[in-house]
Symmetry: D3
Subunit: 172 residues, 6 copies
């Protein structure tokens, strides 16, 4: 039986959190590890909604941290599936922060993660195909191949000269 195709909007997730004391360092700023934890949960929920399966984190790409986020700030995570590959899904998460005095929120982090859908025995299982709709979604869909090759090279499972898609990164 063929799996239903799905759109990014079908599994898009918005997650909002308030920065609490235990999430912060001695300067009262959000700790990076707590942020990673939230990014993973937001991504896992999107992947679970797309696949309607239990999912496990397979990888997280490079994440940078630029601005300190103060205790009491509100952070909003937006997660959506960018592409599905057999049993795995790439998820894109954007993190926005706003404190009390801000009129608008600012983008503080961006992350790409991959998750694998598994059955009750822990065996990978196929997931629905992803159909990008908007321009933005199509761009993320196309870039997914290139990011996948970079992951394989960094994991030592692909030779750089085989990474035909990755060369686009270096020619941008």
């Amino acid at each position: 039986m063929a799996l239903k195709q799905k759109y990014p909007k079908d599994s898009a997730v918005t997650m909002t959190e308030m920065v609490l004391p235990n999430d912060t360092n001695p300067l009262h700023n959000l700790m990076g590890g707590r942020m990673m934890h939230l990014i993973d949960i937001a991504g896992a929920i999107a992947a679970q909604k797309h696949s309607q399966r239990i999912v496990v984190t397979a990888s997280v790409d490079n994440i940078s941290f630029h601005q300190p986020i103060k205790l009491g700030s509100v952070i909003t995570l937006q997660a959506r599936v960018t592409r599905a590959f057999n049993s795995s899904m790439e998820i894109y998460v954007e993190v926005f922060a706003e404190n009390l005095s801000m009129e608008s929120k600012i983008l503080t982090n961006r992350a790409f993660l991959t998750f694998v859908a598994i059955d009750q025995a822990g065996t990978p299982i196929n997931v629905p195909e992803l159909l990008p709709e908007t321009e933005d979604e199509k761009k993320l869909f196309d870039g997914a191949l290139r990011r996948r090759q970079l992951r394989l090279i960094l994991a030592g499972r692909m030779k750089p000269d085989e990474a035909t898609e990755l060369k686009l990164l270096f020619e941008d």
Copy 2:
């Protein structure tokens, strides 16, 4: 006044944790986000010990997750500074897991993170130079430049053709 030079062993950190129910997914395996959180804490402690300053996470490189780690398993994180650059430090974290029936522990994750030392006002501040001693430490020290260029490219702050060190990665 010149800062004292330090060796990797001066700030090496071993962190051991037991996987508790709230760290696990419905199949009773450790969730990726919780692992990332632990990796960040281990790395931050090593960076804090090297710099004797408050540190903030600046970036985490690609992390892969291969084996499921069961509820009740013991995980051990080894973190050490690989190189210092002005106010930032690269930290290498290895994660090992062992469950009840295992005779020996297995390497489950590897991660490189960078931290920045800051003063009470949040301003970056210089840290001691790192002096690698062993062959392994020297190899990590040398690779730090290459990984730094990859981070800058991925963050859009360096052009690929300027990344002289990174080419070594593609020629390995």
Copy 3:
């Protein structure tokens, strides 16, 4: 200086959470108190965004719990301001749940809460007026007076025969 008027959409909050082991009872269902905690946080974030002030919970109205929500389910909380009164705001929170096998999420809880905006000394401080736009928002705005009277009666601070708005409830 007059405070800026604001629309409900300016402070609407979507909060998504995964039900973790520690949130559940021995039958692996979400505990009511954990749900209340999440409802309060979602409401507080909406009130904080509307007022751009620290807010404190002043009251929560009757909440019913109908369906068990299983471990591993995803719950989504939607919070929005329904009306502002000087320093206080009424917030409406809807909770939806979906488990792995569900095609769509179901409404599991509804709650009205009030929050008061305070300054750094803890003194109540005026908040922007709320301007309802949609039919739904106008209905919630109008009902806010009636719910307020019921709260005052239940708190023993208004006599039932003075509750002119509340009579509408008994005539619906």
Copy 4:
């Protein structure tokens, strides 16, 4: 087989907690949602002791929050069953707070909750009848019917003109 009758004192619960940093807002006062969580746990323990069954929260009535409770304060929750109806129980919880400099504690919150006893399959199951002993217990026992009607009206499951007991509230 008839279930044993029980007295309120048989299942009365006293719960004491210290307000910790993660329970507080940026002004270092206990957050409402954390208080609701504690009220639910205290009530659930009383209901579990009365029924000797797993219990689930069915509803919580209006709760007001008047005084800020500071970090480091001690809060004491008193919970007792007020009346049993087939498989459900109404519980009354009073919350007292005291800080370091206080000679005596003050009543900060009052709440009525209902819990349902269930078996391992999640099916509601009858609970022992409650026998009030003191004047105070008898008053709470009598008021339980009136509060129950208000809950049914608020949940849209009873018409106001059928609420014969509730009229007493408006005539008090």
Copy 5:
């Protein structure tokens, strides 16, 4: 100014907790460390109530763990001051557990702890004298000297032959 004298009942504490998943080991029994944590909190609250000061744990005596306590059980901690010495107080904590099917609770642990009252600068500060009233309280009051000598010997701060009170232990 002389400090007010106080009775044990003035600061007696009852603390009730439900055993949650994260408190348990893989056999779903309460972990010893979580129990110790609760014992310390109950003791600290009693010491804080007696002294109306911030208190810090100075020592905890030998604790034994006999019965497994299952997930979902209710545990009740009773803490009371047994004797005050200048700035320190000895506290006695008894822990009772009951699960769903139990008619009555059983005593599972007993512990003696000492706490020191400190001012805002962290300096020890005198506490009110304790006046035992009941036979049980007087016995605990008298035994406090003997337990104190044993602590001093175990900490290497008293020679065994100076422990005149401790000999009573060996002659019991």
Copy 6:
């Protein structure tokens, strides 16, 4: 089948933690109960590694707390098995703390705990014999008998005059 003999180093555990806000009292110092919790976890991991079984805490000996440990400090726990008795193991835990400005860490706590290895039914099960190697390990091994007698006396399960080993304590 005879169980394999093991050395202390085979199950030695190093655990590093950063003191977070929720671990601290209103003066921002680590609370004793949190420290006890960490000591128990470190000890349990060592006992689990030695026995390759689920373990439960059987007892913890007297622990003293001397220095305040500040928020943001790094604490390191070293746990190792000192001796095995049939199904039980004695574990020795040392705790070191260092804050940002310290050049070296200081010993803040020492604790002896006993754990029992159990099978899936909760029945005690034999563990490997411990073979001490170094002088320090042999001293801890020898002292284990004496400490065991003190525990039995304190638990009322041995008469003081039978405690032949314990007399060494009083003659030291």
